[in-house]
């Protein structure tokens, strides 16, 4: 134990966690030369994927074969599970680990992939160091841990949103939660009532279909399906089988009803429900009640330090750069980043709750911390005006940050007062749109509206005024053709302050 890194001390930056969010962040910070410490209560890397999903297969896919070379940046669009390395050995790890039986990795494969990334890149983490409490002392935060006190003026919490939550109506002995289920075969011939119609509820129902005598899925509002919303909002196709069973009257019951009360009844329970549509009341006699009613973030005493949270999951309210909106110096990584809601255009949330979304956020956050907290100012690439349109359209066609984080992350180009053009890299779109800024610039992202194919959205800031320009979609989602070049050149001609940039390319 004497060679464990990062003993209790004062550090300029402290990261808490060892799930994929923390792994991506510490990797990205090291690549930028930012010294920091990492502590985790776990004994090995992987976070919640060391245990869940409970039915042992991921909900996010990795396509071993795609139209782009494995390991290339463009390939990341098809590989939702690998973390992002800078060298061949640490890139596209998941397709090398998966056994080919499914394009959804098994949970053990995901765990091995995360371990391979952590080991292969030599990440340093102090494991089995449990964060217990937090207080403010001058400019520092003081974290009491099982190993002693850590001090830092800046702390990033990557502790997940994996603490099952249930409403008080289900606060009755024996009601199970996600993570407390018995082995599936022990539900053989049982009547199971699942409260909640989101992915966790449908995952449980899918897993119990071969065993349970009857399954009821109930919550007040109707189930949404991702194939209808064309986003990750709604039940994913992998878990839709119970829905089809219900639709074909196969025995599963999917009910829009509020749970009035649950009471013991014989060896099981009586679940009293009421329809929001017509007030009809039903009572279900069942053997098991399972609460699939969501998760909360284990923030411990951070609210007492001043961290504001919102919603049922009690997620911290955050700035576009994932800093607590109410306590400066406290940041978040991993799935908690979904608390930085961004533009939410058409009501569609970011994918920051999933690996394929927050792995990019982590890179942006690492750069932000390096610049804002440590004074690292990476040299920005200067661009010639004729390079701008091809670069932006290439990003819209193949940039994985834009594909996975639509209307959330954007590729940004800055234009100085002297006409100099710089590539400002990937930034939160909300920062570009709402952050203002003194100089002119352009941001491009991909946008989805929940019903059509995604399309490029361009935001141009010139003379302090911001204008949105939405481009049309393309049946092959290729936005690099001459019509797109011509259109974008016209849109940018004013801000670039010179002849249309792609005239020579057409």
């Amino acid at each position: 134990m004497t060679d464990r890194p990062f003993p209790p001390a004062r550090y300029s930056l402290l990261v808490v966690g060892s799930g994929p969010g923390a792994l991506q962040l510490t990797y990205s910070l090291r690549r930028l030369g930012v010294e920091h410490a990492v502590i985790s209560q776990d004994s090995e890397p992987g976070g919640m994927f060391r245990r869940w999903p409970i039915f042992q297969r991921m909900l996010s896919w990795t396509k071993p074969y795609a139209n782009h070379e494995r390991g290339s940046t463009a390939y990341e669009r098809y590989d939702w599970n690998s973390l992002l390395g800078d060298d061949d050995a640490s890139r596209a790890i998941m397709p090398r680990i998966m056994d080919g039986t499914s394009y959804f990795p098994s949970r053990p494969e995901m765990q091995r992939g995360l371990e391979a990334f952590a080991t292969g890149t030599g990440l340093q983490i102090r494991y089995e160091c449990r964060w217990e409490s937090t207080r403010k002392d001058g400019d520092d935060f003081v974290l009491t841990t099982s190993d002693g006190e850590y001090r830092a003026p800046c702390v990033v919490f990557a502790v997940g949103i994996a603490e099952p939550w249930k409403p008080s109506v289900l606060d009755i002995e024996g009601v199970q939660q996600y993570g407390q289920l018995r082995p599936a075969e022990q539900y053989a011939d049982k009547r199971v009532f699942i409260v909640g119609k989101q992915n966790s509820g449908f995952e449980i129902a899918s897993g119990l279909l071969p065993w349970a005598r009857q399954i009821v899925l109930a919550s007040p509002s109707s189930a949404k399906l991702s194939v209808d919303t064309r986003t990750l909002v709604g039940v994913r196709a992998r878990y839709v089988q119970p829905y089809e069973d219900w639709a074909l009257a196969g025995g599963v019951v999917i009910l829009d009803a509020s749970i009035e009360r649950v009471e013991p009844s014989g060896a099981g329970y009586a679940v009293h429900t009421k329809s929001p549509a017509d007030g009809r009341q039903l009572v279900f006699e069942v053997d098991d009640v399972i609460a699939a009613t969501g998760f909360v973030s284990p923030l411990q005493d951070l609210p007492q330090v001043g961290v504001a949270t919102f919603g049922q999951s009690r997620i911290p309210t955050q700035t576009p750069f994932w800093e607590s909106a109410t306590v400066r110096g406290i940041y978040f990584a991993g799935t908690i980043m979904q608390g930085s809601q961004g533009m939410r255009k058409h009501g569609i949330p970011s994918n920051s709750g999933a690996v394929q979304g927050y792995r990019y956020n982590a890179r942006v956050l690492a750069r932000h911390l390096a610049e804002e907290r440590f004074g690292h100012k990476p040299e920005q690439r200067r661009l010639r005006s004729e390079e701008v349109v091809p670069l932006l359209l290439s990003e819209a066609s193949r940039g994985p940050e834009l594909w996975h984080q639509r209307s959330y992350l954007a590729r940004v180009i800055g234009v100085d007062s002297d006409g100099g053009i710089t590539d400002e890299g990937i930034q939160p779109l909300a920062h570009f749109v709402d952050g203002g800024g003194e100089h002119d610039g352009v941001a491009i992202t991909l946008e989805a509206n929940g019903k059509d194919d995604p399309y490029p959205a361009v935001y141009v800031r010139a003379g302090g005024r911001l204008v949105e320009h939405l481009m049309g979609s393309h049946p092959l989602l290729d936005f690099e053709g001459p019509e797109y070049q011509s259109e974008l050149s016209g849109v940018l001609s004013g801000v670039l302050g010179r002849a249309p940039a792609t005239r020579s390319a057409q």
């Binding site: 919550s219 509002s221 509020s258 919102f310 949330p349 929940g450 019903k451 911001l466």
Partner: protein, 140 residues
């Protein structure tokens, strides 16, 4: 008290939802998302597409047109409905004044929600009528 119960209790006191039963309010809380903003955050952005319908649960907000504050909104007020109903970008920014907590429904879901809850549609219509009346008085 559960977070959900907290929201249901708040909504039960709003005129817009005064005709809904508790199960209907619970369904509404599941259907709508919840968002929280801090001082200066823009909730609606003037001239940008893709906005939603909002109901203020707690806090207040400014209606800001071309950078000038014109009016304020408070708990129980709603905004974004005109943009959603007409499919056009908002004509004003809505800016949080301090902590602002809202329920939000995407524009594409507003029609089915209102059709499914005609009592809310009628209350919303009354609200729009009051706005037209106020504007007419102001113009005359």
């Amino acid at each position: 008290m559960d977070v959900r119960d907290d929201v249901v209790d708040i909504l039960a006191g709003f005129a817009l939802f005064a005709d809904l039963s508790t199960p209907q309010l619970e369904s509404l809380v599941e259907t709508f998302g919840e968002e929280t903003y801090v001082e200066g955050d823009r909730v609606l952005r003037q001239g940008l597409t893709g906005s939603s319908f909002y109901v203020i649960l707690d806090g207040s907000a400014s209606i800001r047109v071309d950078g000038v504050d014109r009016a304020s909104l408070r708990a129980g007020d709603y905004f974004g409905e005109i943009s959603c109903l007409l499919g056009v970008p908002p004509t004003a920014d809505i800016v949080a004044r301090g902590t602002l907590r809202c329920l939000v429904l995407p524009a594409q879901e507003l029609e089915s929600f209102l059709v499914g809850h005609p009592q809310v549609m009628y209350r919303l219509l009354q609200g729009e009528a009051r706005k037209v009346r106020t504007t007419t008085r102001w113009l005359s």
